[in-house]
């Protein structure tokens, strides 16, 4: 039994060591179906340095590094003048997905790691998913989650609206 516990403990350590970032206790995800192909939607949302195109709260995004290479850093200037600094952790154009972490943020969260992905639906549309894990800082978890939810909804709503067929 001792041996078995030791093995589990060792396995846990290996799993923990394989993560580059502390994983937040809160997990949150939103998705939306967009009436367009993933290839086209990816042109809008797949550029790590172009969230200033598709998120209504982001006025400008400036990049250090290569926007398709892990380690790239984007500085987002928000409409209210505040700034977010985020780092690209993984980028896969073929799969339509990228993952990033927040280095500096005005929001009451930390250990934020987030993934944006687009994938095809059975009827040729696109499922866009935005998910994150994070911890609350100085606020209730519900409040922190609310912040993230509002941010996700704002971006996903604009992307969806952009590809609505004109009336």
């Amino acid at each position: 039994m001792n041996s078995s516990i030791l093995k589990i403990a060792a396995a846990s350590l290996i799993v923990a060591a394989s993560h580059c970032h502390a994983e937040g206790a809160i997990s949150f995800s939103r998705d939306i179906t967009i009436d367009r192909s993933p290839a086209t939607v990816w042109k809008y949302v797949g550029d790590f340095n172009a969230v200033d195109l598709w998120h209504p709260a982001v006025r400008n995004s400036t990049l250090k590094g290569n926007s398709t290479k892990p380690g790239a850093i984007r500085t987002l200037k928000l409409a209210d003048g505040s700034e977010l600094v985020e780092k690209l952790l993984a980028y896969n154009a073929a799969k339509g997905s990228y993952t990033y972490t927040t280095l500096k943020s005005p929001f009451p969260i930390k250990n934020y790691v987030s993934t944006i992905s687009v994938s095809p639906t059975a009827d040729g549309k696109t499922l866009m998913t935005w998910s994150a894990t994070f911890d609350a800082v100085g606020v209730d978890e519900d409040i922190a989650t609310e912040w993230v939810g509002v941010a996700f909804d704002g971006g996903l709503g604009k992307v969806s609206a952009n590809f609505e067929k004109p009336q």
């Binding site: 367009r36 042109k43 006025r59 400036t62 067929k165």
Partner: protein, 166 residues
């Protein structure tokens, strides 16, 4: 006088060989002010293969070649299923401008050559210009110009809306 006439003729010939495309007799130009920086607006309109993101009539854009290299071709699929094939003639990211021609389209025009250019107004406003020269083909000059102008108006209105402050 004969010498002068000859010189003018030679000059005309030189001009003609200097341009790769016959210049159309008609010209249409539109411009709008967009409520964001030149760098940000260029991310949207500066990609030769992303008209399917910012023009409401274009459902799909597929590229052959590099989107920043002369000779690249984009195949646009419209909402009604029609397709337009266009070729990149010049691309200058530093000057935020590119020009292209239509290779094949159902539009009643010929010799179409167009340019899209962004110019900063100030740090947070950008002038977007879309202009072209072409000839009418099977319709009146006025009808052809109305069709092209309508295409520009629709695209530019969407770009303006994309960056409109909430």
């Amino acid at each position: 006088m004969k010498t002068l006439a000859l010189k003018v003729t030679v000059a005309s010939l030189l001009l003609a060989t200097g341009s790769c495309f016959a210049a159309g007799a008609l010209s249409v130009s539109r411009e709008v002010t967009v409520d964001n920086s030149q760098a940000t607006v260029w991310k949207l309109v500066g990609n030769f293969n992303a008209l399917d993101v910012w023009h409401p009539a274009v459902i799909k854009s597929e590229l052959k070649g590099s989107a920043t290299k002369v000779g690249a071709r984009r195949l646009l699929t419209l909402g009604d299923g029609a397709t337009i094939l266009e070729s990149l003639l010049t691309y200058n990211a530093a000057k935020t401008t590119y020009s292209y021609s239509i290779v094949k389209s159902p539009l009643p025009i010929a010799n179409y050559k167009a340019t899209i250019t962004l110019t900063p107004v100030d740090e947070t406003h950008t002038l977007m210009q879309w202009s072209s020269t072409f000839d009418a083909n099977g319709v009146s000059d006025e009808q052809a110009s109305t069709i092209i102008g309508g295409i520009y108006d629709a695209g530019m209105a969407k770009v303006v809306a994309n960056f409109k402050k909430q």
